[in-house]
Subunit: 84 residues, 2 copies
DNA sequence: TTGATTTTACTGCCAAAGCGGTAATTTATT
DNA sequence: AATAAATTACCGCTTTGGCAGTAAAATCAA
């Protein structure tokens, strides 16, 4: 999932939502320029800015790796330790 | 998946890979400071910087939404149109 | 213990991300 | 065809992310 693909995803979802870039930007609380840049595939967009726009479009970021289950196990173990 | 969780994921994977922050940063071609900041949950890290670090740790970013299949259909349709 | 490695945490500097404004072009709508 | 809306693309400005360097604290290995 490179920046260009992410831009395409955002464009598609925004169009489907019937939002203009400016409306989308306003809902996300960011400038119109970043929405434009993002859809153009700009790779240097900041994570929080991306997240704000994705939130408006009901898209979520998921990390995938061969070790994610192990990570989830460790996390829930840690939670238990902290609780009890 | 917020920035804090991403930081935890990165930390876990880096540790499992047996890499120091500096070694990880060098492999990713980024500064040690961003690896530190990222693992601390800094939300303003840039997408390309994040991707470089994730690539080293064999983690990939996936976008999820109720409309992703529809998007994939549109994309492949567009590919066909552009080809033939 | 001791020495080495790693991590935490700060610094100043530079490049650039994000911002609103503007205007030309393109696309819808009536 | 005419009007409105949306998109593209530029411009300066301000803020800040990423960088290397440093040093103290914590962790690990001999």
């Amino acid at each position: 999932m490179d920046a260009k693909k992410i831009g395409q995803v955002v464009l598609f979802h925004r169009k489907t939502a019937g939002l203009s870039r400016e409306a989308c930007a306003e809902l996300a609380g960011v400038g119109k320029t970043v929405v434009y840049d993002l859809e153009q595939g700009k790779p240097t967009i900041q994570l929080d800015t991306l997240q704000k726009i994705l939130a408006v479009l009901n898209i979520k970021i998921v990390l995938e790796s061969p070790m994610m289950q192990k990570f989830e196990q460790e996390i829930s173990k840690k939670m238990e330790d902290e609780k009890g």
